[in-house]
C-alpha cells in the first residue's frame, strides 16, 4: 500500500526542486540531491527553507548535512511534521 503522506511530501519536494534542476533530471526517492541532481550545497539549504515554510517546521542545518537522498529528506520532513 502506498504511503500517501510520504508521496505528497515527495511531490512537494519535486516541485520545490524544479528551479534547482534546470536539466530536468528524473527524480526518485533514491536520487542523491548533490551527487545525482547536482544541486550545489548552498542551493540545498535554500530548498530546505522553502520546505520549512510549507510544512511550518524547522529543519536544522546539522540535520540537512546528514541528508543525502530525496528519500531521506522526505522521511525527515515526515517525522518533523508529526512531532
Amino acid at each position: 500500500m502506498p504511503n500517501t503522506e510520504a508521496d505528497q511530501i515527495f511531490n512537494k519536494v519535486c516541485e520545490l526542486l524544479k528551479p534547482y534542476n534546470p536539466e530536468n533530471r528524473p527524480i526518485s526517492m533514491q536520487s542523491g540531491i548533490v551527487s545525482d541532481l547536482e544541486v550545489d550545497s548552498v542551493a540545498v539549504f535554500d530548498l530546505v527553507m522553502g520546505l520549512e515554510d510549507h510544512y511550518d517546521i524547522s529543519i536544522p542545518m546539522e540535520m540537512v548535512s546528514d541528508i543525502k537522498t530525496v528519500g531521506e529528506l522526505v522521511t525527515a520532513i515526515k517525522q518533523l511534521a508529526e512531532d
Binding site: V42, A43, P60, M61, E62
Partner: protein, 408 residues
C-alpha cells in the same frame, strides 16, 4: 590516486576554466605588489581593485613603522598560544584600544578573521542553544556553527520578518537564541538593517552577533561599522571583525558589551589551541585603529565613499547589472561561470585585477565580477576601472567567439 577521486568534479570544473582562459582564476600570482593599488604580473602593471584593502593602510608609514618596531622589540613570532606561551603587551594594548573604540566592556583578539568566527560562535553557544544564521553568511560563520554543539537554523537573507517567523516556530526553548548577521555582505555589497534585527532578536530574548569584517573602518562616524552608522551599537551584544581588511594586517577580534565574555577565553578552542597573532601583526593593527578613529580616518572614509559613488554610477551607466547600492564592494552579475571567467581574464590581461566569484561561494548561484574599492584609489583610478569595463562591453563578441571555438 584514489584519495583524491572525491575531488574529480572540482578538478574537471577547474580544468574547463583553465582550458578557456589558460589559468586558474583562484590562483593568481603577482610578481610584485608595488603599493596599495598597484601590482605587477610579468611586465604588466595592474590596477588592484579586488584586495579588500578598504582604507589602503597596508603601506601607511605609521602602520609599517609600528610593525617593524614590534619585531625589533619582541621578535618575529609568539611561538604558541596565549594560554601556553603567554600574552604579549601588544595583545593587551590592542584589546583595550578596540574595546575603547567600540565603547564595549570586553575584547578578545584572534589569529585570523576566520578563526574569530570559529572561536566566538562555537564558544558562545552550547548544546541546548539555537543559532539563527543569515542565509548569506560567510563560510567561516557556517564553519563556526558546525563547530558548535548548538542547533542552527538559517533565515532568509536580510529579512528580520523571516527571522521573527523562524524564532516563533521554536516550540520549546531549552537554551538561548543566538542570532548571527553580517554588516556589509562581502559578495553583493548589500547591508543589514541592524536596528530591525536587534528588535526581533531582543524581543525573543536572544543575543545579536554581527560580523563587521567588511564594514569596520568604512561605516559609522568613527569607523566602528554599520551598528554605529545605524545608531544602535550600544545595544548589540557582540561585534566581530578582522585585521585583514581595513586594519591592514592579519588577525581578528570580537568585542562585547557583556564583561562576562572574558570567560570565553577558557573555552574557545580556536583561541586556546592556536598560536597568537605576532607582535608585528598586532602592532600594525593597533596603529590602524588609531588612524580609523581620527580625522585621518574621516578623510579616508570620505574618499572611499566618493569613489564608490563614482564607480557605481559609471558601471550603472554602462548597463551592468549591479547587486546593491554604492558601497566599497560593487559586484556585477554575469550570465554564467564561463563568461564570467573569460571577462575576468580579459580585465586582468588588460591591467585590472578584480575578483571572480562563483557558486557555491555566492548567493543565489550567481557568477560575479566583484570589485572592492580602496580609499587609496584616486578619481583617475576609478575612471580607468570604468573605462576597462566599457572596453569589456566592446569586446563581448570576440570573447564569445573565442569561447565557442574553445568549447567546440
Amino acid at each position: 590516486m584514489p584519495l583524491f577521486d572525491k575531488y574529480g568534479s572540482i578538478e574537471s570544473r577547474v580544468g574547463l576554466v583553465k582550458k578557456l582562459i589558460g589559468k586558474d582564476p583562484l590562483g593568481v600570482e603577482f610578481d610584485d605588489i608595488m603599493g596599495r593599488t598597484r601590482g605587477r604580473i610579468g611586465n604588466r602593471d595592474i590596477i588592484l581593485a579586488g584586495t579588500n584593502n578598504y582604507l589602503g593602510l597596508t603601506f601607511d608609514e605609521d602602520c609599517m613603522e609600528a610593525a617593524k618596531a614590534a619585531i625589533d622589540a619582541h621578535g618575529t613570532g609568539t611561538t604558541g598560544s596565549r594560554v601556553a606561551n603567554g600574552t604579549y603587551t601588544e595583545h593587551v594594548e590592542l584589546e583595550k584600544a578596540l574595546a575603547d573604540h567600540f565603547g564595549m566592556a570586553s575584547c578578545i583578539v584572534f589569529s585570523t578573521g576566520y578563526q574569530t568566527n570559529l572561536a566566538a560562535i562555537s564558544g558562545l553557544t552550547g548544546k541546548d542553544d539555537i543559532i539563527f544564521m543569515d542565509a548569506d553568511a560567510h563560510a567561516c560563520i557556517i564553519d563556526g556553527t558546525r563547530l558548535s554543539e548548538a542547533s542552527t537554523i538559517r533565515f532568509r537573507h536580510n529579512s528580520p520578518e523571516d527571522l521573527d517567523k523562524r524564532m516563533s516556530r521554536v516550540k520549546e526553548k531549552k537554551g538561548d537564541f543566538f542570532v548571527i548577521i553580517e554588516g556589509l555582505y562581502s559578495m553583493f555589497g548589500d547591508i543589514a538593517p541592524i536596528d530591525e534585527f536587534l528588535d526581533v532578536t531582543h524581543r525573543h530574548g536572544g543575543y545579536l552577533y554581527i560580523d563587521e569584517a567588511h564594514s569596520y573602518g568604512v561605516f559609522g562616524e568613527t569607523g566602528c561599522g554599520l551598528a554605529e552608522a545605524q545608531g544602535v551599537m550600544d545595544k548589540v551584544d557582540f561585534i566581530a571583525g578582522t585585521f585583514s581588511k581595513s586594519l591592514a594586517s592579519i588577525g581578528g577580534f570580537c568585542v562585547s558589551k557583556h564583561p562576562e565574555f572574558e570567560i570565553a577565553r577558557k573555552v574557545m578552542r580556536p583561541y586556546l589551541f592556536t598560536a597568537s597573532p605576532t607582535p608585528s601583526n598586532v602592532s600594525a593593527a593597533l596603529a590602524a585603529v588609531g588612524k580609523i578613529n581620527s580625522p585621518i580616518g574621516d578623510a579616508l572614509r570620505e574618499n572611499i565613499w566618493e569613489r564608490a559613488k563614482q564607480l557605481h554610477k559609471g558601471l550603472d551607466d554602462l548597463g551592468y547589472d549591479l547587486c546593491a547600492d554604492p558601497s566599497p564592494v560593487i559586484a556585477a552579475r554575469r550570465p554564467n561561470e564561463a563568461i564570467c571567467a573569460m571577462e575576468w581574464n580579459w580585465l586582468l590581461e588588460n591591467g585590472l585585477y578584480v575578483n571572480i566569484a562563483v557558486p557555491p561561494g555566492t548567493p543565489q548561484s550567481t557568477s560575479l565580477l566583484r570589485i572592492s574599492l580602496s580609499a587609496a584609489h584616486t578619481e583617475d583610478d576609478v575612471k580607468q576601472i570604468i573605462e576597462k569595463f566599457a572596453q569589456l562591453k566592446d569586446v563581448q563578441g570576440d570573447l564569445m567567439a573565442d569561447m565557442m571555438k574553445l568549447a567546440g
